[in-house]
Every structure is written in C-alpha cells, then in structure tokens.
C-alpha cells in the first residue's frame, strides 16, 4: 500500500475521535478521571495538523509524526502508550516505500509489544491491550488474504468484553470491583483506530 492509505486512515481516525470526544470522556468519568476524550482529541487534532503542515515522505514518517505529537501533547497514561505504539510501528516500517498488509500487521505487533512493555499490562486487565492483543494476533494468523470484516467484528467484540472485566491496571484499578460493568475508555479509542483502519484496508489490495 502507498502512503495515502495510511494518511487517509489517520485523518479518518481523527474525525472519529473528535466525534466521540465527549463519549470517551464520559467512559473515563465512570472509572477514571474523565479526560480520555480530551486527551485523545488534543493529540490527534495536533497530529493531523502537523501532517497537513509538513507532510512526511513515507508511511514510517507519518507514524513517527503521530508518535512524537501524541507523546508531546497528550500526557497522562494514553499519551505514552499510543505514542509508543506509533513509535514502534514507525521503527519497523522505516525505509519501506510500499508496505504490505502483512508488514503493517507485523508493525502493529511491535506496537502491541511496546504498549505492553510500557504499561506492564497483560490481557484481561481492562486496558487497551484487551483490544490490541486479540486483533493483532488474529491479523497475523491469516496465511493468505486477511478478512478485514472479521477483524472489525473482533475489535468490537474485544472492546465489549472489557465491560465485564475488573480493572487491575491504570486509574480504573483503584475502583476494584466497582470498575466492572463499564467499557474501558482506552479500549474504546483503540477499537476506533482498528475499525477505521480495517474499513480503509478493505479497498486496498494486499
């Protein structure tokens, strides 16, 4: 795939996040400190602006710009986590002009590893990892063509599952059992990322 696919994706992600800004904060108000929507909206608006102002040369460059902007503008927990995710992906894709779907999947595997290292979280702790891990693993499990609709459904199902979990990482962990019954805000924003990505990739040949 060419740079434009990723650029379009990032622009769409930004739109979806701005749309869902209040909803994300509302989710965070229930089990965190209520700023996840504000944090994400601040970070992605700025990232897209940076890309518009000074468009990077390749996919890795786009990822790197997003990474650096999120790191510098978001703060909190989600800033370094998403920042790390994009930084790792950028590193993996560095120097590649054309990127295959498989390579993008491998890049996001690096992202997943980065998120888990940075956050010291595992599957089942009611964090964004609960969306990233099943989705990325499934993606890389395809031998041939990737079923993007299946991946979209999985992202959504993985998000839904966070509702029944008890948080043991992040701010929601202070609530203990009281965190059960609410979606994890970071899982929701991760779902948005993947949902738009797979929608975008459906139109692209591997």
């Amino acid at each position: 795939m060419q740079k434009d696919v990723i650029k379009n994706w990032l622009f769409t992600v930004n739109e979806r996040i701005q749309e869902k800004k209040d909803f994300l904060s509302e989710l965070d108000r229930a089990i965190g400190d209520g700023d996840h929507g504000v944090n994400m909206s601040r970070g992605f608006a700025e990232a897209v602006q940076k890309i518009r102002d000074n468009e990077p040369a390749d996919i890795a460059g786009l990822m790197q710009t997003v990474a650096m902007t999120l790191i510098a503008k978001v703060g909190g927990a989600s800033g370094p986590l998403y920042g790390t995710a994009f930084l790792k992906a950028a590193a993996y894709l560095k120097g590649k002009a054309d990127v295959t779907v498989r390579e993008l999947g491998e890049a996001f595997k690096e992202s997943l590893i980065g998120i888990k290292q940075r956050g010291k979280a595992e599957l089942g702790q009611k964090t964004m990892v609960d969306v990233w891990e099943p989705v990325v693993e499934k993606w890389l499990s395809y031998d041939g063509a990737v079923d993007f609709d299946e991946l979209r459904a999985l992202a959504e199902a993985s998000l839904e599952k966070t509702k029944d979990l008890e948080a043991t990482k992040g701010r929601a962990a202070y609530l203990g059992k009281r965190s059960i019954g609410h979606l994890d805000p970071g899982a929701y924003s991760s779902y948005l990322l993947f949902d738009t990505l797979f929608n975008e990739l459906k139109g692209v040949k591997a």
């Binding site: 400190d33 209520g34 700023d35 944090n39 790191i71 510098a72 503008k73 978001v74 703060g75 909190g76 927990a77 989600s78 800033g79 370094p80 986590l81 920042g83 790390t84 940075r118 956050g119 043991t168 990482k169 992040g170 701010r171 962990a173 202070y174 609530l175 203990g176 009281r178």
Partner: protein
C-alpha cells in the same frame, strides 16, 4: 466555579510565571516549558533531582525546588501527568555530570511519561535513575495491579534525597536513601468536598453534605469507603489504624509526622487533627522527632487532609533536619 484566575486554559503557565515572579532570586523557568529549575542549575558535580506531576497540588512540586531539595519540578496540566519532552528538558537543564534521580509518584501516566523522558536522556548520555513513591495505604498493595498511589509522603522523599545529594552523595547513594524513605513512609487521607479543575468548570465528583470519603486520592480517585462525617479524633484514629501496622513501630522508635491539608481545610482543623495523632503516637511510646502541619501536597481547593508517618533512623533524621532554601519547605 469561583476562582481567582484569568483563562482556565492558561492556569499552569500563569501560575509558573507567578512563582518565578515571587522567587526570581532562587528559581527560573526553562523557556517554552512548564519546568521550574534552581536558578543556579545545573549544579556541577552534584546529583540532580527532578520530580513533578499534574498541577493542582501546589506547593508541590515547584515549591520544593531549591538548594537541598529538588533541582527541577515539571508541571503537567491540572491533574494530568506532564509529557516526556517536558521532563526531558528538565533533566537536561539540571544534569551536573553526576546523574539525575527522578522522583515519581505511582500513577500509570506519571511513571510512563517519566520513563520515556529517561529513555530520551539516556540516549544523550545522561545517567538517570528513578524511584517510585507509593505511600498511600488506602490502596491495596499488589504487584499484579497498579499498586499504591504516591501522595504527601513524596515530600519527605524530596527533602531527604535532596539533602543527600547536597551532601555530595553519588547517584546510587541518593537513590538508595530515597528508596529507604519510600519503604518507611505511609500515608492516608480523607476528603470532605470535591474540587474543580479550572478547564472542566465543574466539581470532579459529588458527595453528600454529611459525608466524607476515606482514603481518597489527591486527584479525587475513590477511596475505601464513603461514610457519614466523623470527628477529628475518629479520623485521626482510623487513619493511624491503617498507617501504623504498615510501619511496625516499636516503643522508642522515632518518626516524622506530616498533617497535610488538601487545600480547603484550614490550619485550625489540621492542628486539631494533630492533637490526636500526637496522642496516639505518645500512647505507643513512639517519639515524634518533627511534625509538619500545613499544605504540602494539595488537591486544588478540596477540603480534607492526609496524615503521613515516616519512620526515622539517625541517617534519615539528620537529612530531614538539613537546611534547604526551597520556598515551600518549613
């Protein structure tokens, strides 16, 4: 929301300008950042200390910058961890060649942002160590979870590690004594009212007119229990009942005590609380080496307080008593 502010979105920057205007002989701001450093930074040949976190905890952390305490304090947005680039600027500005110790309160965001800054600094050849303060006994301790939060006890870490650096300790010495403080300081608080983040414009949570939250965090994170409001003596007792078993104090042991106001609770009430805390310690024949009563780690205008007890040995006591010119230490 009734506040003495201008633009709710500019409170952090304007506060920092006000801090520097108040202490131009001691403090400076790294331009383009929200980092406050010692006027004479970097101090060559001294281990440097950096701390910080979200704003709204004043005098933490800028008020603890000075000879004998911190070299830099990084201020995030209100209740939001600062970003790694800001922390990195702070580290660069204070490194005097003997390395930098980061004193981080145990919040996921703070830990990750400071760690990323350390990565950046280490890539530039600066030696960076870190300690993570987790003194809040309201939260269960478990390595599997996020663990305990860092609250007012952090100020003791700043003071004692700062004194060790000032005395000429190596990065290892300073880190070791900081860890020793962290192992020996336990805190817990209660809240009576919420507070309002300026940019949010409305209180962070709701609480009944006759209720209190036991074990609340300094950003309004929930605690152990919400109950009917209790008397000062009952509050002292229940906080000490959680704190003391964690310290394993024996008769004759020596401690420092901090009775910390969260912002909206007047000094009169903190002293009334201290009366009972002192009585409880005296009852166990524990010697109070020094008591600190005042606002050290606040939550904007929240009414409430926390108690911190630090078990001292001779080394810690001596470092605690050492001179510092940090504006907020007394």
């Amino acid at each position: 929301m009734k506040k003495v502010i201008n633009d709710p979105n500019r409170v952090v920057q304007e506060m920092i300008e006000g801090v520097i205007a108040a202490h131009p002989d001691k403090l400076k701001n790294i331009e383009g950042t929200t980092v406050i450093v010692r006027k004479d930074a970097p101090v060559q040949g001294k281990v440097a200390l950096i701390s910080g976190g979200g704003s709204g905890h004043e005098p933490a952390h800028g008020g603890y910058v000075g000879k004998g305490m911190l070299d830099a304090a990084v201020a995030g947005e209100v209740f939001t961890s600062p970003t790694p680039d800001q922390v990195y600027e702070g580290i660069k500005a204070i490194d005097g060649g003997k390395g930098v110790l980061m004193i981080i309160k145990n919040y996921t965001g703070d830990v990750m942002n400071f760690e990323m800054a350390a990565d950046m600094a280490e890539a530039e050849g600066i030696k960076v160590a870190k300690v993570i303060v987790n003194d809040d006994v309201a939260v269960e301790n478990s390595t599997y979870t996020t663990g305990r939060r860092g609250i007012a006890g952090t100020v003791f870490v700043h003071k004692i590690a700062g004194a060790m650096a000032d005395k000429g300790g190596t990065l290892e010495d300073v880190e070791a004594v900081a860890r020793k403080v962290i192992e020996n300081v336990k805190s817990m608080g209660i809240a009576l009212t919420p507070c309002t983040i300026p940019a949010a414009g409305k209180p962070g949570f709701e609480i009944g007119d006759d209720e209190m939250e036991i074990g609340m965090g300094i950003h309004g994170e929930p605690g152990i229990e919400r109950t009917k409001i209790k008397t000062a003596d009952e509050i002292a007792q229940l906080l000490m009942d959680k704190i003391l078993p964690e310290l394993g104090l024996a008769a004759g042991d020596k401690v420092a005590v901090m009775i910390n106001g969260l912002g909206g609770t007047p000094l009169m009430e903190l002293y009334i609380l201290n009366r009972k805390v002192a009585e409880i310690l005296a009852g166990q024949n524990v010697h109070v080496h020094k008591t600190f009563v005042g606002e050290y780690m606040t939550s904007l205008e929240m009414a409430g307080c926390s108690v911190s007890v630090l078990k001292l040995d001779d080394q810690l006591a001596e470092l605690l008593d050492a001179e510092t010119d940090a504006p907020a230490w007394k």
